[in-house]
Amino acid sequence: MMSDDATGRWLTGPKVLLQGLLGFGLLAAVMLASVGFGVSDLPAASTLRLLFMPDLSPGSALVWNIRVPRVALAVLVGTNLAVAGVLIQTLTRNPLASPQTFGINAGASLAIVLCLIVLPDLAGAGTVWPAFVGAMAVGFAMWALSASGTMTDTTLALAGISIQLVLAALVQAILISNNAAQDIVYWLAGSLNGAQWNKVWTILPFTLVGGSVALVASRHFAILALDRTTGVSLGQNAKYVGGLAALLIVVLAGSAVAVSGPIGFIGLLVPHIVRRIVGSDQLTVIAISVIAGPLLLNTADLLGRIVAFPAEMPVGIVTALIGSPAFLVILWKQRAR
């Protein structure tokens, strides 16, 4: 993928590089703050010392087994959701698309809730595979609908939102009929509270593979973003590229839901923010989203722990509280332009 890239601008443009570095610096600062903050009476300065010079003390165990994996998990989940958001908005050519609004998160949630509540003995196998099955079912349905060519972008969006509403209702129905809502209310809101290393290892391969493929294949996705007839006339088999994008969305969003519950708004908001800053080049948007997604999710997680201290507000609620007004502002500014 060299200079034949139709969209032209490159990741290495000095302005984009500067913006990337700035975002990276912000991310590092928020990550450090997040490691330094918690309900234990360990001073922030000691946590930072233990971060760079771990020892055998209980404080060190706390930093390295609870705080650091939480921050790492937020980075991976933030990456997955942001990249999945870019891809789904490209695939459906719809600015309102996200793993949440198109029901991918809800599909994964439904499958996990079924496993946890209705078949608790199956839950021993972990949440990743049920999450994939649920996300896959919805992802396949969306891909089939979009590839059928019978739907306009608007009807496709409505279909996605309908699927999301139905799945969310089914989750509610299962919880109410089992009186188990209290048990997984935190997980269902989207929470990083249960973060530890095994969850980091669970999602890491999917982030690495999914993120890399998304970057490498970004040129193809860029053509997908054009209208379908143009894509076909450029010699592109839109169905296969669309299928690859759908698969990546399912893998990225499904694994994120499996470790942290359905966190909304990251996938919707990050692509919009990033495009406003760096323009619409697909490779650049995906690359910067890999910084912006973790930055937004880590910030939201830290805020959730500060506002409800010493308890915590699940990060999914914080992203919704920040995300919905932010999204309205973006839409309003786009109209104004």
Partner: protein
Amino acid sequence: MSHGHLSRRDLHKGTMTAIAALLAAPVVFRSQIATASGTRTIAHTLGTTQISGAPSRVVALEYSFVQALDALGVVPVGVADDKQPQRVDQLLGRHIDYKSVGTRLEPNLELVSALAPDLIIADEIRHSAIYPQLQAIAPTIVLNSWEGSYQTIKDSVVVIADALGERSQGEKVVANHQATIAALVAKIPTGEKRRFLLAVATPDSMSLHTSSSFTGSVFKAIGLTPAIDSSDAVESGAGLERLIAVDPDILLVATDSGRTVLDQWKTNGAFGNISAVRSGMVFEVDRNQFARFRGLKTAEMIVREVLVKVYGAG
């Protein structure tokens, strides 16, 4: 969901005066019982309810009420059993025949009505909103079960007995229970200073039961120290860092079957720094018995289990 959670706390605080009134109730009723050939006025957390005769078709919307009825020799016609009849078997230690009226969170009013009850016993936190509908079906008394402390549950037994026209029987049941507990408490070594915590493990976090929860107040009543002292019965959504900060000396983890966050945390390097883990004082206990049932028999069972698990004494 979290909204509901907040509101039940608010409700809880807002009705502390009502509970205080309930605790004072025995004084009021002692004079009434003598003349109670016809109608009795039963004070409960949502007001007073007139009950005449001896109700025999009782619907119980919480497990603790079923246990209270059982102690008074009454088999309820309907129970909000979360559609888990095996829990009622476990609750009473025997099988009874009743009709399920759905979940405790959302009992099916049509099923309740179809049973033609002459007394309904409802929970303050879960059922306040449907009190008028319940009252329209049959005389209803509302008691705090979900976040009821040990004392509240004991008082409730007497109120329920009063509603059945068997007040003195209720007082006898409580007195017998006190004697049983006193005999058990005698087996606990004196000078116990360690801090006890009951934590309910859910799939992703733990709910920590404080001094004002049922089990926490049982701990207090038998001279043990709950690790968290709070007027909020349950601190939900606690992560591992919070559990480490509480640092209990004795940790009872209530689990259902299936995997919980305990399995996850056991593999976490920081888990070993909790005092209870270091001294081998972490015990898995049954969630129904320790966190769902609440009742006199349940309190006795909790004390027996603590004796066996913590002190190796039967």
